[in-house]
Every structure is written in structure tokens, then in C-alpha cells.
């Protein structure tokens, strides 16, 4: 019994380690957002379309990972706590209801980075390992 519990705990730890992606694994990037750091909750809110404008009145342009991106599911889980499909459905409902502008889907971190770099107001999330000029990185508190 104890063994099973230990195994279960380990499995859970492993899976959480494996699958429990945290913000430390990712970095949130943004362009001309006017912010240099955000809380996790704030980050999620931005990605969920809760804010349409930055503090400097720039429109918020959400950049998500598409199905082609290896980070799609992880990011979906991290931010939306759902699958990528769920994210698509979520955003479908937002856009349909007119509550937000459609997000941009990119196929990779590089594409995300490239888009963010060229789009003022854009916010995206990439793997921490992905190199990125420091000015685009938004620190997570």
C-alpha cells in the first residue's frame, strides 16, 4: 500500500514534472507593451482576451501556438488549463461574440518571436530556452 502510494506520488510528481509545465519553463514576450513584468494571473488574463489594451493604449494582440506548434498543448495547459482544442473553442466563442479580436496562431516559438518582434502590442509565450532579446521578455513575478 505504501509502495503504491509512493509510486503514485512519484508518478504524479513525474507527470507534473513532465507535464506540469510552469512559467519558469516559458518566457512571456511582448512588444511595446509598456510593462516589464506581470503576474501569472495577469499573463493568463491577457492571453484569455480579458484585456484589449495595454497601459500605453496599444491594442493587445495575443499570439498563440497553432496545432502545428509543439508547444500548443503545453501552452494551452499552462495558460488556459485546457487542451488546444479547448483554446480554439474558447477563442472561437470570444471572437464570435465580438468580445475580442482574433488571436494569431504561430507554428513555432520562432514564429511567435518573429511576430511579436514586428507587432507592437503583441504578447506571446515561448520556451525559456528560445533565445530572445531581453527587451521583449516580460518578467513573471
Amino acid at each position: 500500500m505504501v509502495f503504491r502510494i509512493v509510486i503514485l506520488v512519484q508518478f504524479l510528481v513525474f507527470t507534473s514534472i513532465l507535464f506540469g509545465q510552469t512559467f519558469s519553463d516559458y518566457k512571456v514576450i511582448g512588444n511595446t507593451t509598456g510593462v516589464t513584468e506581470l503576474t501569472q494571473a495577469q499573463v493568463k488574463s491577457y492571453f484569455k482576451g480579458k484585456y484589449t489594451l495595454w497601459g500605453n493604449n496599444k491594442s493587445v494582440k495575443v499570439v498563440l501556438h497553432s496545432s502545428e506548434s509543439p508547444q500548443a498543448e503545453k501552452v494551452a495547459k499552462l495558460i488556459f488549463n485546457t487542451t488546444h482544442t479547448g483554446v480554439k473553442k474558447y477563442w472561437l466563442s470570444l471572437v464570435f461574440q465580438g468580445r475580442a479580436n482574433p488571436p494569431v496562431y504561430c507554428d513555432s516559438d520562432l514564429e511567435v518571436l518573429t511576430y511579436v518582434k514586428k507587432t507592437p502590442g503583441a504578447i506571446g509565450i515561448i520556451k525559456d530556452e528560445t533565445s530572445c532579446p531581453s527587451q521583449y521578455v516580460i518578467q513573471i513575478k
Binding site: 480554439k88 473553442k89 471572437v95 464570435f96 461574440q97
Partner: protein
């Protein structure tokens, strides 16, 4: 609503209204159906495009397409809601989201009456479901309405147009019927109609109308005829009925008695009046004969005549005396008419009028007439009666006796035979009035008796009127012959007295030049009064032995003789002279009867028929005579006339006397005028002497003033003269000094510079040493800096002269020129010397100006009244300043002078005389303050309410009351010891009077003040 036009028009209009309404209704329904179908199709397409967009966005990770699709849908489609309904495999709804999010519509439970929707499925790997698009039907209705609006407008317009057209159509349809209607109404009301058959139109209505019209006209004519006949019958009936009624009323109610009897004269009926007259009732009368009314006094002859007339079946009219039931006797006027039918008398109708009163009146009238006749016959007045032609009908005894004729002699004769010709005019005026029915009171006329004596008669005449017609006139006259004569006499006397009174009053205060004309007028008036043709006045000159024809008046047509007979020798008129000397008249009543042959010849030759001359005596002296000649008639002169002529002659005497008095008076007057003229001349000479004397006194006063202030004047002159002398010496010295220097060392440029500086620069030469030293130090420093090449001594000298020449350190340019000169030191020295000389000359000029002013002021003061005859406008401050200038010396002796007169004040006056005025006031002030240490004189001006107030005040001692009362009197002085003339203030007063000004004096311990007030 009952109108035929309305009944025809309304159904048509209602029909068209229904048609249009139905058309509009069904058209709109049909449109709605079509529109809904189209709308559903649109919604279907929209749902389809949205579904596709959802599928694509899900598959491609790109929601931009979906957003665009939605935006396009919103912009191009009008829908209530679009929803995404996500379903599971079993078709159950899992999730739903909609746009707009806030719409509360449930797409799955829609009210199909209000909304339409379409749905389209979508399917992707991730999701599947349906897209719902919903639209509101209300908007469809509105759209359809807006689309149909033009149609509705057209339909409504068509409706109104057709309504109007139908209205006029209905009226056209109904018109014939209306005309028929009018015609039938006219027929019914029996009136004329203007229905006419329209030319060229022969429809049934018109023919019917024409027929009806013609029938109507025929009927009308027939009716008219019948009406006429009926009317005449009715009239006859009415008349007859009226006649009968009237007759019966007349019979019943007539005032006259009416009696109806049968052929046997038995009474059948009588009216009330007859019953009242007779006193019998109807029942008592019926059956009896009229004999019942007769009694012993009834005239049998009358009764016989009545019977006779009745027998002959004639209308009988008689008057008969009857007796009533109560015994009353009454007269009746009978009018009995037999009623004859078929030649036989069937009854009698008698109209009986009670004439008892009339008969009695007639009898009494006859008696009165008889009495009046007796009165008239025996009256003392002359009474006659004329007919309308003026012929005598009757005259009373008095008339006949006075005229001297009998009744028979006058009957039928015209009244004019007895009238004096002078009275015919009045007769002609009176007769028309009488014929018009008017009375004439105050009648005056002259009759002639049988013996042709004149009778003056007065009275009145009245018309005689019978039955409203003038049938003649009657006159009532009194013989007033004697009264008239007496009146005439009195009147003549009164007129003469009035005449004399008038004439005499004319002579009162008559101007001498009108005397002759007035005498002539008087002669004329009296001549007219006595009916003379010539009036004249002769003046006797007894000593000279002739008689002067002085005045003559002649009536028109008579030749004057005054020019021929200017004088008559007294020898030729001894008769007149003797009479006149004895104060007797010469009266000739008939020249032809004069005894003395020569006199008679003279008178007849002159054409004189009567004359009277009245002597004029002035006390005992015979002066002349007044005469009046009558050339046309003979007449005698009454005593009254003679008396009045004597008065006139006396009046002429008075006139002559007055003439003499006036002559003497005129002579005296001219002598007095001569004396007056010489007196006036002497008075004028004395006045002139007095004026000269007063002028010289005033001049003396002036000179006294001049004497008193001469010390000051001398001092004022000495000062400038001294300055002039010193200045002249200085200039000489400076010129000498300049000319000694080597002027040729200076160039022409230098000399010109010096000259220019002198001309253009006005400098103050007399400056304190302290200031000069200070300026010199400053200038020296500057020169040392600017011109370091020169030695100190040279610089010092230059600085010294420059400072003295009043060249400031600022004038660097000038200083530069100085240093540029060949001999700078000489230059500045000469400059200084020349400047000093110029300054001295300026001083000399100013001093001489001052001396000139002092002399001018004194001259102005002395100038006096000789040269000033006219007032002129002058400046007051300058005027007073001139006088102050004269007292300049005294004023500088510690006198606190306040001279506050407005510099722009002017006035019109004698400016030179005013010098005297100010001078007297100022001089007196100085004299009053003579013993004081502190002296004050104030001169102030003030303008208020159009007046100028000049105040001269000083702080001298209070003026005693006695002096205050007398100070302005001539020769009153408090300075006798000091040769005061006592005229100063009196002269002030005179000058003020000439300027219509006044002066007030106030004095107390502190100040004495003279306030002179001028009216501006």
C-alpha cells in the same frame, strides 16, 4: 345628406374608396410574403457563410475569417441575433454563444409571429453544431410600409381626384332635375320661373321642363283672370257690407237723431240720439207720429211746409221748435227723406239735429251785433269799414262829422278820395297786409276833409274775416292833428338845440387851423335847419367904413358870391347897419312884399325870396352879422328860431375872441421860447464849465497820486538806468581788451565759430565761483585724458576759459574744434571775452526794456479820459499789473503781495479809467498800512453767476464807522494833512457807475476788503 348630388356622388366615392383600400391591403400582404421569403433566403445564406467561417477557423487556427464574416454580416444584414449552437453526436445542445452577446432571444424557442430564423449546420473535427440567424418581422413591416408609401400616396391622390370628378359629374347629372325641381317649386308657389329650353338640346328632361313651363304659364293666366274676377266680386261685397255696416253704425251712433217712419208717418225706429233729444224711450216712440213733439209754440207755417213737402215726396229741410218729454223746448233742424220703391213711398227717414244752442247763440249774437253797432256808431274814434277793394261800406258818426260828409255820400266811394296824397304810399303798403289777414297797429295817415283841410290821424286797422276769408277791413282812427303839430314844434326846437350844442362843442379845443372850416360847417348845418339856400357871415369894419364878406356857404345849384363881394361899403347898406346897430334882426318873409323899393329890387335881383340876418355884438361893439337867404321859398321864422340864431351869433363872437386870445398866446409863446433858448444856452455853458472843472479835479487827483508815488517811480527808473550805465562801461572795457589781442592769429574759421556760438548759444554768464571750480576740475580731468599731449598748465588755462565761457564737458565736438585751432588758448580767451560782452549787452537791453515799461505805465495812468471814449475788451490781470508796476517800489518794501487774478480773464470797459480805480484802492491800502511792520495786499478774482468779483484787501487797521459811511462822498478825506483831495473814492464810485459795477467794503481788525463786482 338628402341632396341628389350627394346621393349620386357618395356611392361612387365609397366604391372607389373600398377598391383602393382592398388593393392597398392585399398588395401589402403579398409584399410581406414575398419579402419574408426573400428574407429567409438571406438569413439562410448568412447562416451558411457563418458556418463556413466557423469550420474554416476551427480547421485553420485562424479566426480572422470568422470575424470578417461576422462584420460583413452585421454591415449588410439587419438581423437580431446570430448564434453558434454546439451539439454533441446525439444532436443535443452542448454550448451556445451568440452575437450580440446581450440579446435575450432564445434561438431555439422563437415566437414565429414576431421573428423569422434560418439555421445552417457546421462540422469540424473539433466541434459541430448549427448556426442560427434570427431577424425581426417588425422591421419587415416597417420596410414594407416604407416601400408601399408611394403607392399609398398615389392611391389616395387618385381617390381624391376621382371624388372631385365624380362630384362634378353628379352635379352635371343632377342639373336638369334641379331645374325641373325649381320649375315645379315655382309652379307650386305660383311664381315666375326662368326655365328655358336650351337651344339645340332636346332631351326628355328639357322637353318635360318646357311642357311643364308652358302648362304653368297657361295655368297662371287662368288663375290670374279668376283672381281678378273674384277680387272684384269680393270688393263689391266688402263695399256693400261696409256701407251697410257704416250706415247702421252711423244710424245707431250718430250725434244727430235719426227716425224711420212708415208711409203713414208712424215711427218705426229711432236711434239713441233721438231718444236723448226727445227724452222718450224707443218703445214710447214706436207707433207714434212726430206730432207728439209739437206744442203751442211750434210754428204752424213750418208744419204746413213740412206736410206739403212730404206730400210731394220731396226732401224736406226745416227748422222747428219742439218740446221734449220733460217739457224742455228744443229747436230741431229736420232733414226728411222719403224712401221710394217702385214709385211709392214706403217709408220716411228723418235726420234731426238739435240746434237749440245754435239758435240761442244766433239770437244772442244778433243782440250783440246790434249793441256793437250802437257802440261803434257812437264812438269818439273815427271808424270806417272798407271792402276788399278799399271802397267805403260804412263809417261812424265821428268819422262822418270830422270829414264833413254823410253816410250816403261815402257809400261805395274809394277811401283814397279822402286821403292826402302824402299818405297814398302808406295806404299802398297797408292794404296788402289787410288782404293777407294781418292787422296793422300804429297806423298813421293824413286825411283831407271836405274843405281840404289836412287831418293827422293815428290808429289801427284790422281785417274782417268771415269763414276764413278776408271780406274787408275796419279802421279805428284818432284825430291827432294838433298833437302832431305840437310834436313837430318840440322836435324842431330840440333839433335846433342839439344842433347848437353840437356846433358849440366843436369849437371847444378846436385847433385854430380848423376854425374856418368849422365855421363853414356850422353855417351849413344851420342853413339846412332853417332851409336856407345861402348862409354867410359879414365882419363890420366900422372905422374903415366897409363890411367884409368873411364866410359863405351855399347849397348845391346856387352861385357863391364871396369872391365878388369881398367888401361892401357901409354907405350902400344903411338899412342893415341901422338895424344891426340897434341889435335888431333884418327879416324879410317875402321879398316881393318889401316896401322899400331899392331893397326890394336888390333882393329880387339876387333871387332872394326870404332872408334873415342876425347882428353879432361883442359887448357893445357891433362886430358883424350872420345871414340866411332862402332862394326857393318864402318862409317866416319862429321866435325859437330867432332865439337860436342869436345864440349862434354869440357863439361866433366867442370864436372871434378865442382867435384873438390864441393870437396873443402864440406871440407870448414865441417870446417865451426865445427866453428859454437863451436860458438853455447859459445852462449848457455852465454845465460845460462844471464838467471841465470836475475833469480838472479828477486830473488833479491823478496828479496827486502821481506825486505820491513819484519816489517809487524815480527809484524804478534809477535801477535799470544804473545797470545800463555799468553795462555800457563793461562792454567798452571788454571790447578794448579784445581788440588789443592778436586777432589776426585766429583764422576766419575760428572767428566764425566764435560768432556762431554767440548767436546760437544763450548762456548764463553770472555763475557762482564754487560751481565754476567744480566744473573746471571735471573738465580738466577730461581734457587730460582726451588730449594727453598737452602740458598741465596749458590744459588748466584752457579749462579755465572754457568753463568761464560756459562750455560744458559734454561738448566734445566743440572742444575738439578748439584744440584743432592753431591757437587754442587765444581762441578760448577771445571766446570768453566776446561772450561776456554779449551778456552785458543783453543786460543793458533788459534794463532799458524795464525803464520803458515804467514810463509807459505812468503814461497810461496819466493818459486819462481825454483819449478814451469807447469801451474795449482788455485783460484784467494785465490792467491791474500795469498799476502794480507803478507801485513797484512800494511793493518791494516788505509787502506781502498776493496777486491771484486769472490770467485769461477779460472784460469790456474803459481800461484806462480802471487804472485810476485800482490805483486809488492800492494807494489807500498803502496809506492805511503806513505804520505797520508787516504789510499785506491781496488781489483776487472770482467769476460766479455771470459776475466778476475783484477783491482788494489789506491788513491795515479797521476803518471807523464814520469813515465807512462817508468815504465815497466827494471831498471827504481823512488825509487833509497830507494833501488828500477827498476825491479818490468818489472817483472810484463814478468809474464803477460807468461800468455798471458795484463796490462793497468790509473792515475789521484783521483785514479790510474792497470787493468790486462787474457784470460780465
Amino acid at each position: 345628406m338628402k341632396s341628389l348630388v350627394f346621393r349620386i356622388w357618395f356611392p361612387f366615392v365609397a366604391f372607389f374608396l373600398c377598391v383602393f383600400a382592398v388593393v392597398a391591403y392585399y398588395y401589402s400582404i403579398k409584399q410581406e410574403q414575398v419579402y419574408i421569403e426573400n428574407r429567409k433566403f438571406e438569413l439562410q445564406e448568412l447562416a451558411k457563410s457563418v458556418a463556413l467561417a466557423v469550420e474554416l477557423s476551427l480547421e485553420n487556427d485562424n479566426l480572422n475569417g470568422l470575424k470578417k464574416a461576422l462584420d460583413l454580416a452585421k454591415s449588410s444584414n439587419d438581423f437580431e441575433k446570430v448564434s453558434v449552437v454546439i451539439k454533441d453526436e446525439n444532436g443535443n445542445k452542448v454550448e451556445q454563444f451568440s452575437n450580440p452577446e446581450t440579446s435575450k432571444l432564445s434561438v431555439l424557442k422563437l415566437d414565429n409571429e414576431k421573428y423569422i430564423f434560418q439555421k445552417y449546420p457546421f462540422k469540424s473535427e473539433i466541434l459541430s453544431g448549427e448556426i442560427y440567424v434570427v431577424s425581426s418581422k417588425a422591421k419587415i413591416d416597417q420596410v414594407i410600409f416604407e416601400l408601399n408609401l408611394p403607392l399609398y400616396a398615389i392611391l389616395i391622390s387618385l381617390f381624391f381626384i376621382s371624388a372631385i370628378i365624380f362630384y362634378f359629374f353628379a352635379r352635371w347629372l343632377v342639373r336638369p332635375i334641379k331645374e325641373l325641381n325649381v320649375l315645379s317649386i315655382a309652379i307650386k308657389n305660383n311664381q315666375e320661373s326662368d326655365f328655358q329650353l336650351q337651344a339645340g338640346v332636346a332631351n326628355e328632361i328639357d322637353i318635360l321642363g318646357e311642357t311643364l313651363n308652358s302648362l304653368y304659364k297657361d295655368l297662371k293666366m287662368e288663375r290670374k283672370r279668376n283672381d281678378e274676377i273674384l277680387e272684384s266680386l269680393e270688393l263689391q261685397v266688402i263695399e256693400r257690407t261696409k256701407e251697410n255696416l257704416q250706415l247702421s253704425l252711423v244710424a245707431k251712433h250718430a250725434i244727430n237723431g235719426i227716425l224711420i217712419a212708415d208711409k203713414d208717418r208712424r215711427i218705426l225706429w229711432a236711434n239713441k240720439s233721438l231718444c236723448d233729444i226727445t227724452g222718450y224711450s224707443l218703445e214710447e216712440l214706436i207707433g207714434n207720429t212726430p206730432k207728439m213733439f209739437q206744442f203751442e209754440k211750434t210754428d204752424p207755417a213750418t208744419i204746413a211746409r213740412i206736410n206739403e213737402g212730404l206730400i210731394r215726396n220731396e226732401i224736406v229741410k226745416e227748422q222747428v221748435l219742439n218740446k221734449g218729454k220733460d217739457g224742455r223746448e228744443y229747436w230741431l233742424e229736420l232733414n226728411i227723406v222719403p224712401v221710394v220703391e217702385n214709385g211709392q213711398v214706403t217709408s220716411y227717414v228723418a235726420v234731426e239735429t238739435d240746434i237749440t244752442d245754435r239758435v240761442l247763440d244766433e239770437n244772442s249774437l244778433k243782440k250783440s251785433e246790434e249793441q256793437n253797432r250802437r257802440i261803434l256808431e257812437n264812438a269818439s274814434e273815427m271808424i270806417h269799414t272798407l271792402d276788399n277793394n278799399g271802397n267805403l261800406l260804412w263809417a261812424n258818426k265821428s268819422w262822418l262829422m270830422t270829414i264833413g260828409v254823410s253816410q250816403d255820400q261815402i257809400k261805395g266811394k274809394s277811401i283814397t278820395e279822402f286821403l292826402h296824397p302824402n299818405t297814398m304810399v302808406e295806404f299802398g303798403q297797408v292794404m296788402p297786409k289787410l288782404l293777407a289777414g294781418e292787422s296793422v297797429d300804429n297806423l298813421e295817415c293824413i286825411f283831407l276833409t271836405k274843405t281840404k283841410n289836412e287831418l293827422q290821424l293815428r290808429g289801427k286797422t284790422i281785417p274782417l274775416i268771415e269763414n276764413g276769408v278776408v271780406v274787408g277791413s275796419q279802421a279805428y282812427l284818432n284825430n291827432v292833428t294838433k298833437i302832431v303839430e305840437a310834436e313837430r314844434t318840440i322836435r324842431d326846437k330840440s333839433n335846433l338845440q342839439d344842433l347848437l350844442m353840437r356846433i358849440s362843442t366843436k369849437y371847444i379845443n378846436l385847433p385854430i387851423e380848423l376854425l374856418d372850416q368849422t365855421i363853414m360847417d356850422s353855417l351849413r348845418d344851420i342853413a339846412n335847419f332853417v332851409m336856407a339856400d345861402r348862409a354867410y357871415i359879414f365882419n363890420y369894419h366900422l372905422k374903415k367904413g366897409y363890411c367884409e364878406y368873411k364866410y359863405e356857404w351855399v347849397t348845391e345849384g346856387v352861385e357863391p358870391q364871396i369872391d365878388e363881394l369881398k367888401t361892401i361899403s357901409l354907405d350902400t347898406m344903411p338899412f342893415w347897419l341901422e338895424k344891426h346897430q340897434n341889435r335888431e334882426f333884418v327879416i324879410v318873409e317875402n321879398a316881393d312884399e318889401v316896401v322899400e323899393e331899392n331893397i326890394r329890387q336888390l333882393l329880387v335881383t339876387e333871387g332872394i325870396k326870404s332872408l334873415i340876418t342876425i347882428p353879432i355884438h361883442d359887448d357893445e361893439r357891433l362886430v358883424g352879422f350872420v345871414g340866411f337867404d332862402l332862394l326857393k321859398t318864402h318862409r317866416s321864422f319862429s321866435e325859437d328860431e330867432k332865439e337860436i340864431l342869436v345864440l349862434f351869433s354869440q357863439m361866433i363872437v366867442n370864436v372871434y375872441k378865442r382867435l384873438d386870445y390864441i393870437r396873443e398866446l402864440n406871440e407870448s409863446k414865441s417870446k417865451i421860447e426865445e427866453v428859454n433858448a437863451s436860458l438853455e444856452q447859459r445852462v449848457a455853458e455852465n454845465t460845460k464849465k462844471n464838467l471841465d472843472l470836475s475833469k480838472s479835479i479828477i486830473e488833479q487827483e491823478k496828479l496827486a497820486t502821481i506825486g505820491e508815488i513819484s519816489a517809487g517811480i524815480a527809484h524804478d527808473l534809477n535801477t535799470p538806468l544804473g545797470t545800463i550805465k555799468v553795462g555800457a562801461d563793461n562792454v567798452r572795457f571788454m571790447l578794448s581788451s579784445i581788440l588789443k589781442r592778436e586777432l589776426n592769429s585766429l583764422s576766419k574759421v575760428d572767428l566764425e565759430m566764435i560768432h556762431k556760438r554767440i548767436e546760437t548759444t544763450e548762456t548764463e554768464m553770472f555763475v557762482g565761483g564754487l560751481q565754476l571750480r567744480k566744473e573746471k576740475v571735471e573738465l580738466l580731468k577730461q581734457l587730460s585724458e582726451d588730449y594727453p599731449d598737452y602740458d598741465a598748465l596749458f590744459q588748466e588755462k584752457i579749462a579755465d576759459f572754457l568753463v568761464k565761457a560756459r562750455v560744458s564737458s559734454n561738448e566734445r565736438e566743440f572742444i575738439q574744434k578748439v584744440y584743432s585751432s592753431a591757437h587754442p588758448l587765444l581762441f578760448v580767451e577771445i571766446l570768453y571775452q566776446v561772450q561776456m560782452a554779449a551778456a552785458q549787452l543783453e543786460t543793458i537791453k533788459k534794463s532799458s526794456d524795464k525803464a520803458v515799461k515804467v514810463v509807459q505805465d505812468v503814461r497810461s495812468f496819466i493818459k486819462g479820459e481825454v483819449s478814451q471814449n469807447e469801451k474795449k475788451e482788455f485783460n484784467i490781470r494785465e490792467n491791474i499789473s500795469t498799476v502794480l508796476g507803478i507801485f513797484n517800489y512800494e511793493l518791494r518794501q516788505d509787502v506781502d503781495l498776493k496777486f491771484e487774478v486769472e490770467p485769461n480773464l477779460t472784460m469790456v470797459g474803459y481800461d484806462v479809467k480802471l487804472f485810476q480805480l485800482w490805483s486809488n484802492l492800492i494807494k489807500n491800502a498803502f496809506e492805511a498800512m503806513d505804520n505797520q511792520q508787516e504789510k499785506y495786499i491781496g488781489i483776487f478774482s472770482k467769476v460766479e453767476n455771470g459776475k466778476l468779483l475783484l477783491t482788494f484787501e489789506n491788513n491795515g487797521p479797521k476803518i471807523p464807522d464814520e469813515v465807512m459811511e462817508n468815504m465815497f462822498k466827494k471831498f471827504y478825506t481823512t488825509k487833509a494833512k497830507k494833501s488828500g483831495t477827498g476825491l479818490g473814492l468818489s472817483i472810484v464810485k463814478n468809474i464803477l457807475h460807468e461800468h455798471n459795477a458795484s463796490i462793497e467794503v468790509f473792515s475789521d481788525e484783521q483785514v479790510t476788503r474792497f470787493i468790486v463786482t462787474f457784470v460780465l
